[in-house]
Amino acid sequence: MRAFNAELSKLFSLPGIWLAFLIGAFAPAVIATLDSTAQKEGIIAGVSTRLSEVGYIGLALGVQGVIILGVLAVSSEYLTESSESGGGNQITTSLTVVSSRFHFLLAKASAVTVISFQLCIVAILTTVSATNLILGEYAPAFESSRLIGAVCYWIFTALLAFGITVLTKNGIIPLAVLMINSSVVTVSYLLSKVTKLAFYLPDKAGLDMFMFTSDRFHTPFTGGLIMFAWVAVLFIVAAIVFHRRDVTS
């Protein structure tokens, strides 16, 4: 518990974390606002085919905030300070204090989970109110089962970012890969045109938890299960690698 508190305090004192909070809390609402404005006429006329996606699209594209959170949580530990201030790594200090590597990883992952959960709640609140404000009585009802799916999607995405960064130790690669893959036209979407196997990629399966589009492949529950399996496998690999690796190598 003390390790968990320490991790929370470390996360909140990171300089880049405010960018993550800002994007996580408001980007979904902005995207949902833009999308609802564009769809408004079609929805009022009753011809829009995308009524079920309005609002949720903000939550699907707005995961950038938690991606940054997950990546920063790990990559900040590995940042080498300048040689003028000793050239130290934060990870050396962290592992001196919490000597069990498994506990360290667990505390950090829990801190990331808790923060992304709260961030997602804030994002849902802003997104739902933005959609209601724009569409008024035409706004789709936000069912709690789909919102739970969105929360799971956010947490799993943050943990995926976290796990990949433990393996790479450098924030650039996971940040670039995950941000591109949560953009408007994703690489996984492209691959799904080529092979059916792409529907089992974590982001494609995870989106099925709450995006009810025409080309969805899994039920919400199996989608969530597949994404959870990815997260679990990644964590086992990351824990083994982290356990066996020399701290600063």
């Binding site: 880049g16 994007i23 833009l34 080498t80 300048s82 650039i172 940040l175 941000m179 036209v185």
Partner: protein, 252 residues
């Protein structure tokens, strides 16, 4: 010690080039981009094989991966300038080269020298792999029709790299620069395209799009390749100038 100014330029350029070439992450990024591009080109081609064949569509499919490809070059530009700020390298640099504007301009020049051949090779490999996969269905391809979009693609990637380098020099930290640039190119800009269609052609990425996309009959090309180049170049020059001004004024 007094050195003639032309000799000075060669020395600084040599130093900047050596710093770039010895950055291990640069080569990893380029290699990763190259492999990713091949995979994407194959995916795009097999997805597009059902469509109509011809010179136009080979180029279109071969260059379709450019959208993702530019991410590698954005990273390249950011790494080139932000690597100075991890550790105290910037202070060493400025001790040996105490002309700030001069030093940063030479850095952009060195970056362009490294980027141009790489951008050409990577863009060409995409078109080539599309061509090889579609050999059976395609008509004979004219070399002139290929050279122009490829030159445009190379220019686009190089200017994008320089733009990212300028933003990296402004922000001096890798993560915020990366988030802002990737966020703009992959999320903000595709979304805004639908809402601000009147000014969308003046964004750096949409303007640059016209540099390499061959004109097609079914969509109206609003900008010619030359106009696209002009708009993107203005953006790049503005950011480079701002970066240099800040660099001269700011504490290192």
């Amino acid at each position: 010690m007094s050195v003639s100014s032309s000799r000075k330029i060669t020395l600084i350029l040599g130093a900047e080039l050596e710093k770039l070439v010895t950055l291990p992450l640069i080569w990893l990024t380029l290699l990763g981009t190259f492999i990713l591009n091949l995979v994407l080109a194959v995916a795009f081609t097999s997805a597009g094989l059902q469509g109509a064949a011809g010179t136009q569509s080979i180029l279109k499919i071969g260059l379709a991966s450019m959208v993702y490809l530019q991410a590698g070059f954005i990273i390249l530009g950011i790494l080139a300038t932000c690597s100075e700020y991890t550790g105290g390298q910037i202070r060493t640099t400025l001790t040996t080269i105490p002309w700030r504007g001069f030093q940063l301009s030479t850095k952009y020049l060195a970056l362009a020298i490294v980027t141009i051949p790489m951008a050409f090779i990577i863009a060409a490999s995409g078109v080539l792999s599309a061509f090889i996969m579609m050999r059976d269905t395609a008509l004979v391809i004219e070399i002139d029709a290929v050279i122009k979009p490829l030159a445009g693609a190379t220019g686009y990637l190089t200017l994008t790299t320089l733009l990212s380098a300028a933003i990296g020099a402004l922000l001096r930290r890798t993560t915020p620069a990366l988030v802002i640039l990737l966020g703009h190119y992959f999320i903000v800009s595709p979304l805004l395209r639908d809402f601000l269609s009147s000014i969308k052609n003046y964004f750096p990425d949409t303007a640059g799009y016209y540099m390499y996309m061959p004109p097609s009959s079914d969509e109206i090309n609003v900008l010619t390749p030359m106009q696209g180049t002009g708009v993107l170049m203005v953006w790049t020059l503005i950011f480079i100038t701002v970066a240099i001004v800040f660099y001269r004024k700011r504490d290192a």
